[in-house]
Amino acid sequence: MKKTLMRQVNNQFPAPCLTINKKYTILEYTQEASEMFHLTPSLWEIIEEGSHTKVKEWVIPSQPKSKVEINMITASKQVVLVDLYVKWNNDLQAEIMIFPKEGQNQHVTKMLDRLQTRLNETNFELLEEKEKLEDAIQQNNKLSAPFIQLTDETSLIPLFGDISEEKLLTIKDQILLNAHTHESDCLLFDFTAVGEMHQEGVYVLKDIFTSLLYMGKEIVIVGVKPIQAQRLHHLKIRFNLSFVTSLQEALNRFGA
């Protein structure tokens, strides 16, 4: 078999051009082509893997003239998108002109990438902020029902903020645990600083009260506003709940 040698030619257009045979061996190349690629006789060496099928299908003598977009590998190992203009002179040889498209698309691609990265970062930062906020709310919830022992018999539990399901679930365990470890039998639940009362929150409150009653505690509800009273009405626990209008009165009655 005759050994094929590549040779540089100068009678072509001032662009990366190649002449190949039908076995995809490079026969001739322009100076521009040798500057852009690391040329070996095999054309496949400079064509990116994902584009091989496309070349096999479109760069063939049965397509005498074709234009096809593929990815090639440059001398600096970069993958570049190019348009190939292919012309078969006969069944044996084709001339190929290579036009990199990067220049046309690069700016837009880079901008898109940058926008995408920014969106992603923003998304991620939002997620982190959301988590911080959730932690803060959780922390806040935990602090919304301090357990204050007033005397041996009486403890005060002022509730703060809205009665929401989430908050009540957070404070449920700590209230029950404190009620268990402290000896006081009388628990004053102060509603003075309570805002909205949500239905689901009220249900959890009912659970808490019921558990406390089973534990043998006396529950006194203090400082309920009229609108809240209507909500509490749904509790429908009739045993051992006393109601007192103000904390002052409660302290007089149950305090030291």
Binding site: E49, G50, T53, K54, E57, W58, S66, V68, E69, L81, K101, N105, T109, L112, D113, Q116, T117, N120, F124, L127
Partner: protein, 215 residues
């Protein structure tokens, strides 16, 4: 016209609203995974094939990818299970230089569907950045995606680093590479190769059963 060609046409036209409308007619109960595996993934492969057939350009492909991304985000934000307290955590990223991310996004969405706490870091993430996040977040599962065979050395390096983490998270390898190449030499009891979303789903369900069985 089959389903992929119709959807591909909408994607290539940049017609995201019609694409979403089209998908919403595909069933009364929107099963995201079904939509991803039956429609979005084959449509994007179809678009890749159109490029191979010299019918569209890379610019068209980029547009279709952006539309698919938009559709995916819309589907993902539909009603979903709330993240449970003490939910298992998954962190997902594409290795450095890897620009393909649609599959990774579908994986994130699948984990969310199962009530997992998910951190999606996107594609093209250098290893040291990934490790910083991994160490901060301490995920139970780390999903890594790679599409092109050039990434093999980087992927190997990433897996080696992740396999050394002291709390031994499970490492899942996905992406086109998991589908097309034999990555079995990377697999171990901590490193799994996941070929598609159905396999992922089966793994998540099996995992939940394991947890339930031991607790």
């Amino acid at each position: 016209m089959d389903d992929f060609s119709k959807l591909a046409k909408l994607f290539l036209e940049g017609n995201e609203d019609d694409a979403i409308h089209y998908l919403s007619q595909m069933g009364p109960t929107p099963n995201r995974l079904h939509l991803y595996e039956q429609f979005l993934t084959p449509t994007m492969y179809h678009i890749g094939a159109l490029w191979e057939r010299n019918e569209i350009s890379v610019a068209d492909e980029h547009l279709a990818t952006a539309v698919c991304d938009f559709v995916l985000s819309q589907l993902d934000s539909m009603e979903k299970r709330k993240v449970e307290k003490n939910a298992s955590k998954a962190l997902l990223f594409g290795i450095e230089e890897e620009q393909h991310y649609l599959g990774l996004k579908m994986v994130a969405s699948t984990f969310r569907e199962y009530g997992w706490d998910v951190r999606y870091l996107g594609p093209n993430l250098p290893l040291d950045h990934a490790l910083t996040q991994v160490n901060r977040y301490k995920p139970d599962v780390i999903g890594v995606s790679a599409a092109l065979s050039y990434r093999l050395p980087v992927l190997k390096d990433v897996i080696e680093h992740l396999a050394r983490l002291e709390w031994s998270p499970t490492v899942l390898i996905g992406g086109r590479m998991a589908k097309e190449y034999d990555l079995r030499s990377f697999a171990s009891d901590r490193v799994l190769i996941v070929k598609d979303l159905h396999q992922l789903e089966a793994w998540i369900e099996g995992n939940e059963e394991d947890i339930n069985a031991t607790s």
